[in-house]
Symmetry: C2
Subunit: 340 residues, 2 copies
């Protein structure tokens, strides 16, 4: 159970659901429309990425990397979309509990369900790690894969973020969408490698990020192949399988991709192991950390945050000269479509 | 431990190391050089495959399938290369034991190592499933991923098959190499989904089949990310992780690819679940079983074989009208380069 805490940190519960205003319009962007990274200001992080991509795609450059080895891995929560005031998947789990509650009258008297139903965050916190895992397993299992996918799609299309007042899929970072596309245009395979549940992400992000299901790697619960009424089904079981966080990330990258990445993007200490793994590539590699510095347009947090803690990773990035994006100064837009 | 028996069936031990001659030259092939499946005789299995591929790639056909959904999955042992008189990975394990023996003088007195060192197949059989798993874990763990890959490459380039007298990588089926290429030329992604170890396969088959590491799915042992003398490494542990056989195959397909295949090739009951899974696709799908009928050029075995048993699968293929390749009659060549 120890590792389960990585899946959904307990601390989301005490995160403050702060409201915030935003200023999505560009500041000091002087780039033309043809700029592939037009939501990035003309800063070092941007020019470093472009210099790297130009080098590894140029056959005459000593740093050239063949297409088949141009593997890029991206964390999701806090790197491609927001993760405050709690991981979006946790909002889904809590909403599912409320949706399923009529079929489970007993939940009114059992933690952690009672806490969710009564919006009692203190009691939910008191249920501890064990309670949170119970929540996730309850809401993510006991159905086949199509039913689960449908329930996520239904939720994402109808539920709004508590402070941003848009559906959660609108809270993706426009500069990162451009970066994904720019890398793909240059022959990179862009993978998500996230602590989030793989099937939760697949139901949402293929369309949003343009990443096919086979390039989405995440945490998994156990599943089982069964013939149900003559039809083959894959049933989701209430048992953790693999937690794709911290040291789990390079392990999953090796098991599923089987190649060391040459590009890695993340935002927290949970991404440090895959950064180190990428940095150890004998081919040229690029490590990019997104630093949440914008308290006005997004959220500002790092070393002391319970969600997306960025402490050891920040030290190592500074020490090793990895690229750190300052969201406030480096990005002229945070979200697409002027989300405030 | 029950599932471990699927990884390496006990029965290889009693398989007869029969010698055989071959007749690799074409019989009644009347096809031109431009035929993408020129090693296939002009038989129903071949025309069915071609009809299917033409339909799903033709935008004006009702059976059209978009490129992103053209997922093809292939078993490896007995489907893409031979698996007699024992799975090739087991020869590797036994050879590794002999290679490592000087560092382990105690093995002379401990089963199953003693049996391997003395070529005592009866004693090896007596060590049972537990003994076989021990063999595999001993020889596939305790090193980092690069060292393991190197040991496999070294073995495959130097060790010859006991009766065919060529290195094991020469025992791939030429007609299946053509089928893989034909599917890829028509926009299919061709995956291996095998009970064999994923890193064992990756060290060999990317080059042989033209399949990149990220499209090779197999059984896994647990691994761990460690910083060793300042360098990140992934270390292979002596613990089974996932057995990619039988019901495990559709489970792995869903977990890693996240899409139901439209094309599935296998040769044994171990492939039946992924055949059923593919057949349940709402899009058009094609199920192809390779039937080992050629006792002269390859090996003939099916319902009563301990390796690659093809019994329930054969019944279901006949019942449901899936395509069954008769190796003796349908293929004018078995192996490339006139291997006899």
């Amino acid at each position: 159970m120890k590792k389960a805490i990585r899946f959904f940190t307990l601390s989301f519960i005490i995160a403050v659901f702060t409201s915030c205003s935003s200023n999505p319009n560009s500041k000091n962007s002087t780039l033309s429309n043809k700029d592939p990274l037009s939501s990035w200001n003309n800063v070092t992080s941007k020019t470093s990425v472009i210099d790297f991509v130009r080098a590894v795609t140029d056959k005459n450059n000593l740093r050239f990397v063949p297409v088949e080895d141009r593997i890029a891995v991206f964390d999701n929560d806090g790197t491609l979309w927001s993760e405050q005031p709690a991981y979006f998947q946790l909002f889904f789990a809590m909403d599912r509990i409320k949706e399923l509650a009529p079929e489970h009258p007993e939940w009114k008297g059992i933690q952690p369900y009672k806490a969710v139903l009564e919006n009692d965050m203190q009691a939910l916190a008191a249920s501890g790690e064990h309670g949170l895992v119970k929540l996730v397993l309850t809401t993510h299992s006991g159905m086949n894969i199509e039913e689960f996918s449908e329930s996520v799609k239904q939720w994402i299309s109808t539920t709004k973020h508590p402070t941003k007042n848009v559906t959660f899929d609108k809270l993706v970072y426009q500069p990162m969408l451009e970066l994904l596309q720019y890398l793909r245009n240059n022959g990179f395979s862009t993978y998500i490698v996230s602590g989030g549940g793989v099937d939760f992400m697949r139901a949402i992000v293929t369309e949003v990020y343009g990443i096919p299901s086979e390039q989405i790697i995440g945490s998994t619960i156990k599943t089982e192949f069964q013939i149900v009424n003559g039809n083959p089904e894959i049933i989701r079981l209430a048992e953790l399988d693999f937690i794709d966080d911290k040291e789990g990330k390079p392990v999953a990258i090796q098991r599923i991709i089987g190649k060391k990445p040459i590009f890695c993007a993340g935002n927290s200490d949970g991404d440090l192991a895959m950064m180190q793994w990428t940095a150890s590539n004998q081919q040229p590699s690029f490590m990019l950390y997104v630093h949440h510095t914008d308290s006005v347009r997004e959220w500002a947090y790092d070393r002391n945050s319970h969600i997306g803690r960025f402490d050891k990773g920040l030290d190592e990035a500074n020490e090793k000269g990895w690229t750190v994006v300052d969201m406030e100064n480096d990005w002229n837009i945070i979200y697409p479509n002027d989300v405030k």
